[in-house]
Subunit: 598 residues, 2 copies
């Protein structure tokens, strides 16, 4: 703790120094501009934030001299499309090129220097040194404002064999082309993907789509690390159903070349997975080399520290995108959000700030995300339960398993929802959802709700589109809001399977687990061992005869609705009862191996 | 005006009398309850609001005596599914039955009297008279609280021949069965649907789906009357493409029997449309007979007047659903919203108010709606431009034509968006959208935004799900927010095709219409007659040479983006320029026959 304290003190000193030097720099720059000179803006990195910044800068200031340096060969490309390009879902590389240098020049009069890396910043002189990556030739460029949009680097772990041929990352078009070429040249039949996040899952799907036999190795016991584990259980099922060998909870220890010329991925758990191809998708590290060398302040998560105007510790230098550390809108924590949407918004904000258009601020990121996986969609916005637990933040959760549209219209699909909210005032903190249809729609609605500080009462009242092929008179967003609102109102005591004391349920005669489904359902889908069946259809009659008012009744049904109705009957008849959120469906998803234990 | 004034005065008097009688009634009721009696709640009409009210009442109060009277044979059914049941998309009638009397009884201990019509209310005695529609037998039932959820009646206009066999409405399951039976028995090959609203369009789609040749007759010059006309132009196209004879701007004058046994629909315009079947879908009239006879106050739109607790002018009587007049959340106007979602919410609110659970209020309705039509989706939330014009409310609009997801991912579809907002503070007033995919998702997000009083700046910043098959880094919601925000900021002068002075454009040399697309595009998709082509790619060079700084330049491109970029160049070079929202796409949709005029 002491060393951390010293480090913080040191950093504060650094900030102050930077601020001082900046003041001087700023004045100089303003003098330049005031003297009729044109604003000189240099942008390092063009992909998302840098390109957005350049385009808006030009719309705000026709006179500015704007230059983008991009170390890669393409100034702006759709890196979110790379896995689908590898999978031949996107056929043409040209589709990925959002804007080329010629367009930037013609539309925006922006000079683009591709394959040019900025290798040094001289903050005092306000210049950068750029190096042509082909010729190695260096040049010096003055700036009034410098915008750092260097992105992140795909992490290659320092493990034995990590640099063997056939081991790839997926961050750039050349990366994708290298994988495609390797698959074609080696006639690759199998792949190991390391890392079960967004890119890892998309790579698995696309490699399977190309006909490769895939293994997925993930160090954590779940895929999609930002999501809560029970919400990704359907993704695990979907991966296995697609023939993917899923190895969870086992990290990679190293790589070997196999006798047949293939690769072997060795795990910490002692396993060896052979494949013709390995894709590393274990994350992105913010590219901060340039910023660090220039003495810019970094944040606690290792990204470039910026204020709400995306200004670094040097007031003439801004940072946006994957390399910038931003505030989590919900938790207030510092965070790194390697997503295109926030990067684009940040680029625009910087353009506004530089041109003095308005006091444009980045309000933080909610981490809204979505991934498609073999027909399944997983999406989330706001804080996860694990984040809230880690922060010790008060939270309550409800689960919902519900049709994406009216059940009476053909083709309804179940979606699973987990909503996190403040138990005191009902403020929505986060939502995760999984299913085949209509998943990201509900997450988008709740993303807007969170942005506007909405409560579960607002979700309850939301007026959303309803026709039977699109939704329900009570949309899933309404339903999850209603359940949560009743919890906040105190009329719906609710618990979750993971909070139940299994030991107590099995041994304590004062605690009763009640299954209120009809006997035919139990026969069909199973029940939780040890539960007493008291079907809702006859519950009133049973309660009239039930004597044990000093026992505690945990009530569940199939998805939670009847459990709620039953719980109200218990409570109003003087029994102490709690509904188990999400019912048997949640039990199956959260505790697939638990039935035997009860 | 004088007579209206008198009427208002009279009504006020009525309210006061009602309030007095209510006070007494209330005390009596409370006395009953206080004396250990059970709350007796009678509900008139079960379909949506009544059923929701009953279920929640029971969850709040296990002791209450709850009875639902439903004049139809089914206490609660999915009336939004009726057109699809006629079309055999929904195969089984049983699918439409949301809950039957047995379930209401078993789950909720609610007595359900189907095929029983309440024919009179004695407010002083606090009783209703109910009549068994089969036997005609009447019975009297006391209440502490009465909930009116009578719904609406499908309008049968008082026109000659309107009662001829073969002319149907679509409001109940028996209505739908009658249509199905007629089609089968008469081997019907053709139909005329009268009315182009939600039900009319859904009936056309479903009758076509059954193989009938359909004509659609609509009095207004557009289908979907709540929507602005230019936004439903794609629906007109889609109807014609599906082989529907579309007759707009022509009302029905009467009906005749044809010599061959079929029907003839005669229009005000002198046309005669023959068909084997006629469906009247010209709207719903709130069922207020009972309320009127009981002396309950009606609202300015003809519905039952209620306060924000859904209480009528008699404090022991509530009204919900299609028959209740509510407040428009955006405009503050009184309105009738015959939609299931608001009805359900209102039913729940009444249950809360009766049981004293909390000060539950209905916050008004936004009129969020959606309809599917031969693969096209039309959706809207908030106020339309025509409503805002009628009210004289300040508003600005922008059009957007944009891909539903990243264009680089296969299968992107264009969606058209119209956003209405307050030009002063940017508050979002309404949005309409049409397209094949992802339409209602964006409307739902904006519905939540409007509910929370969001501005276009909030839409600009929204953090929504992005992966290439779901959306874009700048989602359509962001994009329309960005365009509108730039308008509010004053950096993007914008007009729309309908606001352009055609005459001036054609005759005034001081006004120039500039097309900034590339020449190849103009050759391919056409241009607006009289426009000067100044491609964006070379605009800077042209502007440097352009002298006419005292002219006004109206700029357009294909969808509006390049028009914006070009407008900024014009402005910053000292020219007076305005972008035309939505570009050539909007021109085509809004003014399909206008090209020749310019």
């Amino acid at each position: 703790m002491l060393s951390l304290g010293r480090r913080v003190a040191f950093r504060t000193a650094t900030i102050k120094r930077a601020a001082r030097s900046v003041t001087i720099g700023c004045s100089a720059s303003m003098a330049t501009e005031a003297a009729g000179g044109k604003r000189r803006v240099l942008i390092v990195g063009g992909v998302a934030g840098g390109a957005s910044c350049a385009a808006r800068l030009r719309r705000m200031d026709e006179q500015a001299e704007i230059t983008i340096f991009e170390r890669g060969p393409y100034v702006s490309f759709a890196n979110c499309g790379l896995p689908y390009f590898v999978g031949d879902v996107i056929k043409e590389q040209s589709s990925l090129l959002v804007a080329n240098a010629a367009k930037f020049n013609k539309w925006f009069n922006v000079a683009v220097r591709e394959s040019t890396e900025v290798v040094a910043i001289d903050r005092a002189a306000k210049t950068v040194t750029a190096r042509d990556v082909t010729s190695g030739q260096e040049s010096v460029h003055p700036y009034d404002y410098l915008v750092l949009s260097p992105g992140g680097n795909a992490i290659r772990p320092p493990l034995p064999g990590a640099d063997l041929p056939g081991i790839f990352v997926v961050k750039t078009i050349p990366d994708a082309n290298a994988i495609k070429a390797w698959v074609a040249e080696k006639n690759a039949k199998s792949a190991v993907v390391v890392g079960g996040g967004f890119i890892g899952l998309e790579m698995v799907e696309n490699l399977v789509h190309r006909g490769l036999k895939c293994s997925l190795v993930e160090m954590l016991p779940q895929v999609m690390p930002p999501y809560d584990p029970e919400m990704v259980e359907p993704a695990h099922e979907r991966l296995r159903a697609a023939g993917v060998d899923l190895h969870l909870g086992d990290g990679v220890a190293g790589f070997d070349r196999a006798p047949d010329g293939g690769l072997i991925v060795r795990t910490a758990g002692g396993k060896a997975h052979a494949a013709d191809l390995v894709v590393l998708a274990i994350g992105v590290r913010p590219e901060t080399t340039l910023a660090r060398q220039a003495g810019l302040e970094l944040g606690s998560r290792g990204g470039i520290r910026v204020d709400e105007h995306m200004r670094t510790s040097d007031a003439a230098i801004f940072a946006v995108g994957d390399a910038a550390e931003v505030k989590d809108f919900v938790t207030g924590e510092q965070t790194l959000i390697p997503l295109a949407g926030p990067a684009n918004r940040q680029g625009r904000i910087v353009a506004d700030v530089i041109t003095g258009n308005e006091p444009s601020r980045f309000r933080g990121s909610q981490g809204t995300s979505v991934v498609g996986l073999f027909g399944l969609t997983l999406a989330a916005t706001g804080a996860s339960e694990k984040t809230l637990r880690r922060l010790g933040a008060a939270h309550q959760k409800v689960y919902l398993h519900i049709n994406n549209h009216a059940g009476y219209y053909p083709g309804a699909k179940q979606i699973d929802i987990k909503l996190l909210f403040d138990p005191k005032d009902g403020r929505v903190l986060g939502m995760q959802s999984v299913g085949e249809e209509g998943v990201e729609k509900r997450v988008d609605v709740v993303a807007m709700a969170i942005q506007k500080g909405a409560t579960v009462f607002d979700l309850e009242e939301a007026e959303l589109c309803y026709a039977p092929q699109y939704g329900s008179a009570k949309d899933p967003v309404n339903m999850v809001g209603m359940v949560a609102a009743n919890v906040v109102r105190g009329m719906h005591p609710l618990t979750t399977w993971d909070e139940l004391d299994l030991q107590q349920l099995a041994t304590d005669p004062g605690v009763v687990l009640v299954d209120v489904r009809e006997p035919s359902e139990l026969d069909k889908v199973g029940k939780v061992a040890g539960a007493v069946n008291m079907p809702l259809s006859g519950l009133r009659q049973q309660l009239a005869k039930l004597q044990d008012k000093d026992k505690k009744y945990y009530v569940y049904c199939q998805v939670g609705l009847r459990g709620y109705v039953a719980t109200r009957q218990f409570l109003q008849n003087g029994f102490d009862a709690v509904n188990v959120s999400g019912g048997f469906k949640s039990f199956q998803q959260q505790l697939p191996d638990r039935s035997a234990k009860l």
